[in-house]
Amino acid sequence: MHFFEVRRLTKAFGGLIAVNDLTFQVEEGEIYGLIGPNGSGKTTVFNLITGFYPITSGAVLFRGKQLNGIPTWKVCKEGVGRTFQIVKPLRRMTVLENVMTSAFCRTSNTHVARDKALEVLHFCEMDKKIDFPAKGLTIGDRKRMEIARALATAPKLLLLDETMAGLTPQEQYEGVELIKKIRKSGITIIIVEHIMHVIMNLCDRILCINYGQEIVKGSPSEVANNQAVIEAYLGKE
């Protein structure tokens, strides 16, 4: 049994096949990269895993349990956290309140939720921002708060959708360090990212897709040197 598994996953939006017969497995403790050109279906894969979109066919299995068919909020309770490519802060709440909201996933006690949120915010090095209203945060802090919020739900699998996009090089560096720290804490990660040095630096294995279909799977160096991958990104000569 694999820790996490996607079997022959397919999603059609009307006539458009956004995800086409995708199969991959992720093992516990791994950082697994999902890459592909714009519009290749990466975010859609995440939305299918979390049950945000109903799948057209195939299956999603997490620790032996089928995730497809159960509602999004239950997928979260099962231990799958995610961040959004287009961030979704709870705007008229502070950073602490945002993270507390997600900490309530595992407790109904306000004090426990608050402690958990403070602990996670400390882990994410956001202690100084806890009382900031979420709507006033910089993009870097919004992305970081998304990670903190996902972590506060105590996930076993974390889906990161372009958490580095739009960040300064310094912030990217800190982001990579944070993700390494998250993995060290025992959380398995699937990461979608366009920034190649981030992907190459972090991932144990990578799946590259285009038009919703697999192009190649393998180690970072195998994928980076693959002719089909280069063509997918740069086009044929």
Binding site: W73, C76, L90, E97, T101, F104, T110, R149, T153
Partner: protein
């Protein structure tokens, strides 16, 4: 607002019937306290949870008729309505939520509007049950206004306190999360359907209690009053928005402002202005809403600093709108 100003306000409210013996002013205060309940209930659902109801008359009317029917059909005191009215209103809230909250978009908003109108028409035409347009007339228990005043005060205090406690709990965080971003909320383990329903149940309960109180206090109800779009459903929205939606103290303040304004118009400013003024109150409220939304989007409470700055020429700080307000 400073802490002691709240205590002072509560103290003043408690002492009011001792200080003022006029039945007329007591009556206005009783109505204002009742509107604290309805406005706060609407605020929990709309201001905090983001589910805007255009038909809170549903719950008010159901509560009022529950009390009235206790006397006319069951032959028991209308005071039993204070116990039955809340749960009966919740029943309607439950069904409404079960149908509408699985769907996105404006279904809920429109359904509240439609259901209130349907209930008004049903109450009008089902004469064998409701006496139709004749309405329900009961004999009031007390001739003095004082017991009603303290009862209204008690219900208002309980309602505001309950909502205050809810907002500070997990439910409150979940309600606000749903208001801010339902998709994000679902991904944080929140069943939007469940928590929208909970918010609606609490809101309908207190509104139903207010309706039952109204029956007991006024001794008379008819469909056009208790299921009224204008006098109940829209008034609930005005109370919350004028005072400040999404804030605990918004609707209580809004209730006193709105009841006073309504009374000023109804009496043509105590007879100082020509009579036709009382016909113009709908228009005046419309203008008031536009002014408030344009210049004080956070209501009188939320934009208090801005408002008082008009007189003291102080610059308003940026308001911090967190769930805790």
């Amino acid at each position: 607002m400073a802490k002691y100003s709240k205590f002072a306000a509560v103290g003043l409210l408690l002492a009011f019937p001792l200080l003022v013996s006029s039945d007329y002013y007591r009556h206005i205060m009783i109505l204002a306290l009742m509107w604290v309940v309805i406005g706060s209930s609407w605020n929990l659902l709309a201001g905090y949870t983001g589910q805007i109801s255009f038909g809170h008359a549903i719950f008010f009317g159901v509560g009022a008729y529950s009390a009235g029917l206790c006397t006319t059909k069951l032959g028991i005191s209308a005071w039993w309505g204070m116990l039955i009215g809340g749960p009966m209103a919740m029943l309607f809230g439950f069904v409404l939520g079960a149908i509408c909250f699985r769907l996105r978009g404006t279904y809920f908003n429109l359904a509240t509007l439609a259901l209130a109108e349907i209930l008004r028409l049903v109450a009008k035409s089902w004469v064998s049950l409701t006496e139709g347009m004749m309405g329900i007339l009961t004999i009031q228990t007390f001739r003095s206004k004082v017991p009603y005043y303290y009862l209204a005060f008690g219900i208002a205090a309980l309602c505001v306190f309950a909502i205050w406690a809810i907002i500070r709990s997990k439910w409150g965080y979940y309600f606000v999360a749903i208001r801010e971003d339902q998709d994000a909320a679902e991904h944080l383990g929140i069943s939007a359907f469940r928590y929208k329903s909970i918010s609606l149940l609490v809101s309908s309960f207190f509104t139903g209690v207010a309706g039952a109180f109204y029956m007991n206090y006024m001794g008379f109800i008819d469909p056009d009053v208790v299921f009224s779009l204008y006098y109940i459903s829209i008034m609930a929205i005005l109370v919350a928005i004028i005072g400040g939606a999404g804030m605990i103290w918004g609707p209580p303040v809004g209730a006193f402002i709105m009841v006073l304004l309504q009374e000023l118009f109804r009496s043509a400013f105590f007879g100082y202005l020509p009579k036709w003024i009382s016909e113009a109150h709908a228009m005046a409220f419309g203008i008031l809403v536009i002014v408030v939304i344009r210049f004080m989007a956070n209501g009188v409470v939320g934009d208090w600093v801005k408002l008082s700055g008009l007189f003291t020429r102080q610059k308003a700080p940026i308001p911090s709108v967190t769930s805790g307000n």
